[in-house]
């Protein structure tokens, strides 16, 4: 108890998030840890890369040292606070209230690839719960503040891995497991069950949930919403051919972020639609050393939410591929906030939007520190990427639901 008492009310620790920080990713974990222990955390938007201001408690400083997170002791923090809150400065302090309860949507069986968010959460030591179709359909999503989706396929086409993987053990086991699960939950087809899951997630967001999706979970999710009640799966996926008029029947009013896209009906092609940019097949030839995307600038005082989502110590971030690498700009619905894009191209990497009382964020690509993460590749060791700007964007999303809602300035 003694350790939790601040030395004096005026003493605070600043966890800088600019280039000086030794471990950006674990710094988010420290902020979460502090929230769990009811220690006040202020997120200083646009101030030194989105720093955290925390009460100076010996226990916290010790924890920072153990986790390798750089901190600065401030004798008088009010100066910084007034600087950040000054009207003429594009900075703002946001009080983080409580640690968000996090759910990650992942199957219970093994998948031969890794999930960047799970990696980030585990590295940052932020607790989370794994949930799958049963829990989603039983309405358990309402128990969580934040839901993460990664390399999932909500269309029921098993990730469209058929051409390259249908003879592998993992693929066959996955298909059988999914079929059994669908049957167990009362669905005839996996595609129908996955669509029900997508609808449940939509309801969760409408009711105020925060959803963050990466890689193929982004476009496959919206496709599933548009294809509600339409068979878009070929025979190898659900046993019968797709609806010949599936494309014409898509209802884009039902989606979150994309519209007017065209389905990829070739079951042998590793792609769901034309949303993905560049398309996964043929494998795009790009020079990783020149592939970057730029984060947009927002007003910290008037647009705190997008500002939180783009907090970083750089504003040009290394690109990375995935089954869904980025999104075609002309297929994005009006009203969606573009957070990051590849300059002088029609590729949007990172976007955010509202639906009902909740929000969703889509982030293209698979692993921010593995340019082309292939099936069977070993997981990325984040000890080697402690300051990864790409991973920071994921962790911004985790803390953003913790922010106390302020009255809008506009």
């Amino acid at each position: 108890m003694l350790a939790l008492t601040p030395l004096t009310a005026q003493q605070k620790l600043l966890i800088p998030m600019d280039a000086k920080q030794t471990n950006h990713l674990k710094a988010y974990g420290i902020a979460y840890w502090a929230l769990e222990k009811n220690i006040e955390v202020d997120w200083m938007l646009n101030y030194r890369g989105g720093s955290f201001l925390v009460n100076n408690i010996p226990l916290l400083a010790n924890e920072c040292r153990i986790r390798g997170v750089l901190y600065e002791e401030l004798a008088d923090y009010t100066k910084i606070l007034s600087e950040v809150n000054a009207e003429n400065s594009n900075t703002e302090s946001v009080r983080l209230e409580k640690p968000p309860k996090i759910a990650v949507y992942v199957p219970k069986n093994f998948k031969p690839w890794d999930d960047a968010v799970t990696l980030a959460l585990e590295y940052a030591e932020i607790p989370y719960t794994k949930i799958w179709d049963d829990e989603v359909l039983q309405g358990k999503l309402s128990e969580y503040d934040w839901l993460h989706l990664h390399h999932e396929d909500f269309t029921g086409q098993y990730g469209k891995f058929y051409a390259s993987q249908h003879n592998t053990q993992w693929y066959n086991e996955q298909q059988l497991t999914y079929e059994r699960k669908a049957k167990e939950l009362g669905f005839k087809k996996v595609s129908e069950e996955k669509n029900a899951v997508a609808q449940a997630i939509k309801t969760y967001v409408a009711n105020g949930g925060f959803m963050f999706a990466m890689c193929s979970a982004t476009d496959s999710y919206d496709i599933a919403l548009a294809a509600e009640g339409i068979d878009i799966c070929d025979v190898m996926f659900d046993g019968d051919p797709p609806d010949a008029n599936a494309q014409q029947k898509l209802d884009f009013t039902k989606t979150f972020a994309f519209q007017n896209f065209t389905l990829e009906t070739n079951p042998f092609r590793y792609e769901y639609s034309d949303i993905d940019n560049p398309q996964s097949e043929p494998v795009p030839i790009r020079d990783p050393s020149t592939d970057y995307f730029t984060l947009f600038d927002f007003s910290a005082k008037y647009d705190p939410v997008p500002t939180m989502l783009i907090q970083n110590h750089v504003n040009i971030v290394k690109g990375f591929m995935g089954q869904t690498t980025a999104f075609k700009k002309n297929l994005i619905k009006p009203g969606i906030i573009i957070l990051g894009e590849r300059e002088e191209s029609d590729e949007v990497k990172y976007l955010h939007g509202n639906y009902g009382r909740g929000t969703f964020t889509f982030y293209g690509g698979h692993d921010p520190e593995d340019y082309q993460h292939a099936v069977g590749d070993p997981p990325t060791d984040l000890n080697l990427h402690k300051n990864s700007p790409g991973y920071r964007l994921i962790l911004n999303n985790i803390l953003f639901p913790a922010a106390k809602k302020k009255q809008q300035k506009t």
């Binding site: 010790n62 040292r65 390798g68 053990q169 066959n172 059988l176 046993g239 019968d240 009906t265």
Partner: protein, 600 residues
Amino acid sequence: MVQKIFLWILPIFFYINVFSQTLQQEIQNRFQLAQQFEQIRNFEQAIQIYETLLATDSTNTLFIDGLHRCYLQLKKYPLAIQLLQKQLQRSPKDVALLARLGETYFLSGNSFVADSLWQKALTSSSQNQNVYRIIANVQYQNRLFDKAIQTYLQGRKTLNNPTLFSKELAGLYSVMMDYNSATQEYILLLLQDERQLEFIKTRIAFYTSKNEGLVSALSVTEKKLSETNNSTLRRLLLWLLIEGKNYEQAFEVAKKLEEQTHSSGYEIFNFAQQVTNTVALQAYEYLLKIETHPSLKPLAKFGYAKCSEEINANNDTSQIPYQKIITMYRSVAEEYPNTEIALQSKYRTAIIFSQNLADYDVALQIIDSLLLLPKAKQIFSSLLSTKSEIYLMKGNINEAEKTFSQLLQIPSLGNQERNEARLQLAQIQYYKGNFDSASVLLQTLVQDLRSDEANDALQLQSFIEQYKTSSRQELQVYAKAELCIKQKKYTEAVGMLDEIEKEFPNSVLLEFVFLKKGEIFSLLRQYQNAITHYQKLLEVYPKGIVCEQALFRIGKIYQNNIKNTAKSIEVYEQFLSQYPQSILTDEVRKQVRILRGDVL
């Protein structure tokens, strides 16, 4: 008259032939067009053409297949069913047609009729194995794995052949993740033809990588073995146990297999080569007790001795007396003179004498005798390298230097061995106090940053360069103390370090002296004494360049030797507070987390 008729008929035949050819060509063109429409997924157009084509030839299977495919694509199941039923009227016993009709009913959602049609096909030719394969295959294609299994089992029962379709059933059970049944079927297959063992191992390996798969395979195999006592089945069990790294139990199985097959020891020898040293040692020991093929005896003795050596090397205390190991090697060398294994055995005894028994003279005698043997040509460089090290350990530093130099003269010497020899030579120059010569030799190694020795070379070079001018005299003593540590003459080393403390009270080397003393007392397991020296270093030189190492080592001693977790965490936290930029910081953080029991 006949001639006139012929003249009339000839053009008619000609025109009929031409017309027929044109018609055929027209049909062919239309068929190709239908296929093209199908390819571009314009099934409506394709259907129209197929239907007109079928009107011209209602028995053409290509047209029927094409039309059926298009009906299915557009989910026009009633039309697809009607089409096949028409065909069935012509050939009511066509099993393939019945199978397809059943499939069409299944796709339309009518599983009941599908099942009855498939059953009808099976009943109509119940004595024909292929009928079961055709129906099961259609069911498999539609992912009706349970039904496919039932079809094969029905066939097995009807044809009164309990081993029929084992391969197909094993595959299906495997897909269904029913590893018990899959293994049962693979065993049936194995018992039919024991030459299938390797094939079956590869199939079972698909699921033994998963724990539940391995457990199932093991329990089924064990049960079946208890009923049959079949040697091939026992070999399968042995393989499964080795796969599961259950070496102790595997050894028992290997012994039974040896008894059962009378393989003159080969079963046990093969087993010994696949398992860990501890179990291999037991296997070699067993092999030496039983009647074996003569060629296996020396291999078993050598294997036993080598395993013993490796077990000792991986333990703090010798578990097997070295004299026993030497006796074993010697008996191999005496019983099988002038062989490769005799040479290897003698070489190993030399290594034991030098590294474990500190009997350098005997070790040198053995090495010298081996160097004279023509057979030793293959291991000549290893022998020379060992000889040099023995000289160094013995304290005959000039001979060590000479031998390392001789080693470097060997043209075929590998890069790794060459770099090792160079580093040894540089260290010898350092021990001798020839710092400039040492630096020159180290420079060659430092330039090749890919070599394993580069790091050690860089460290020694920078140490020499830093102190060779300012503290030359005490550095010479310090280097000698390091040689003593290498030779395990710890008391002498401490004496030399004390001498530096006494003779050079203001030397900048003193912090290294304290650190080295702490290291020596740690090696002597005098942990409190070691901590005292490290703490002395921290007190006397609070800003010294090796302070962080001293503090880290104190933490390590509390953690690993004194086993005081709280004290260890306290020291490590002090370290993190004092040396946040140290290269040891990551390791310290990791150790704190381990000590706290954090899930990493």
